[in-house]
Symmetry: C2
Subunit: 233 residues, 2 copies
Amino acid sequence: MAKSDVKLIGAWPSPFVLRARIALNVKSVEYEFLQETLGSKSELLLKSNPVHKKIPVLLHHDKPICESLIIVEYIDEVWASGPSILPSDPYERAIARFWASYVDEKWFPAMKSIAVAQDDEARKAAVVQVAEGLALLEEAFQKISKGKSFFGGDHIGYLDIAFGGFLGWLRVTEGTGGIKLLNETKTPGLLKWADDFAAHPAVKDVLPDIGKLAEFSKVIVAKMRAAAAAPAK
Amino acid sequence: MAKSDVKLIGAWPSPFVLRARIALNVKSVEYEFLQETLGSKSELLLKSNPVHKKIPVLLHHDKPICESLIIVEYIDEVWASGPSILPSDPYERAIARFWASYVDEKWFPAMKSIAVAQDDEARKAAVVQVAEGLALLEEAFQKISKGKSFFGGDHIGYLDIAFGGFLGWLRVTEGTGGIKLLNETKTPGLLKWADDFAAHPAVKDVLPDIGKLAEFSKVIVAKMRAAAAAPAK
């Protein structure tokens, strides 16, 4: 696969872009990483994802594929040059898709609201919600991993990538808030999973540096707070 | 497949439940339809989908599968007793998944807001948004269907089922509001598609009666308006 056949429009701090990068690494696919600048959108991005105008976009032979989880499935279907990302059993696939969707629709929005909470009460409520979500994910991990290191068993799979994309942001949230969202008491499985995931060869070189991400988060959180505080239109 | 091996927890007016029913029909899978009552949730539902507590839930050999689009993919993967629902080409699959996700995340929320709009201005804005979404879907239909009847070509496929689940509600919205959201000028392809879809053998017996759905919508819209008008917590 010539490098120029595969391009990824993205940005290093995005958890969604990270998913695509990890999936490409799992399959040992070389790609050109086209980074967007915060606050502007390139012509290529606008042309490639005119509906949402969002990263990541994977360009394969110049054909655009949008939405991070759809990109991960596409990568899994197109390249056989690495372990399968989705489980082979249809029921296990459904379960992996279910939790990936849960992470996107419920859990991550709650985690974002820890950062943008306007007062202490709202922030505490968001922390409780995130912790409850992690307890659910811990339970799922115990069931799905069957004593192995990852949701995907011995290899990192779809749900590892879906949830793991957020690991850097989870650590930044822990650091900024002085809270241990992953801990020995409530989420022992995920606590170990997080270390194994971060050390995985497909992950370690693309997982953002936590200090750098924490700096970046100050900028983005200020923007989100301003948006949340703006009067409703 | 013994009928008792496959059960679907649902309710006749739900567009999400309808997707699962159509997919089962495409594959000629017999199933037991367990209908929930509006305003209450059965023990079986709460046990089968403890995270979201929502219909539809497919029970296959008593194992629960939740979330309508995940159920449709599961049905496609498990039963070979009918045409494929997802396209076989990975890029076409990605495109079908992209638009299905668009319909769920952007288009249908806009359509709901036509019904619950608190004033005329908000209602008009929602109508514009829905019409813009339909124009995008029309463009996608022209590209994807390649002159055939369905997004899936000669057969109804994933995107037909994802979008078509909402057809009854689209017609109710048109009827209640005295508006033609699907029309010859802007969406000629989708206008014909809607008739072909509604007449399809896998669809016609499960598509809700529009009059009955319009009656039901009065109840549900009143509830949604009340919720939308309630002061923010």
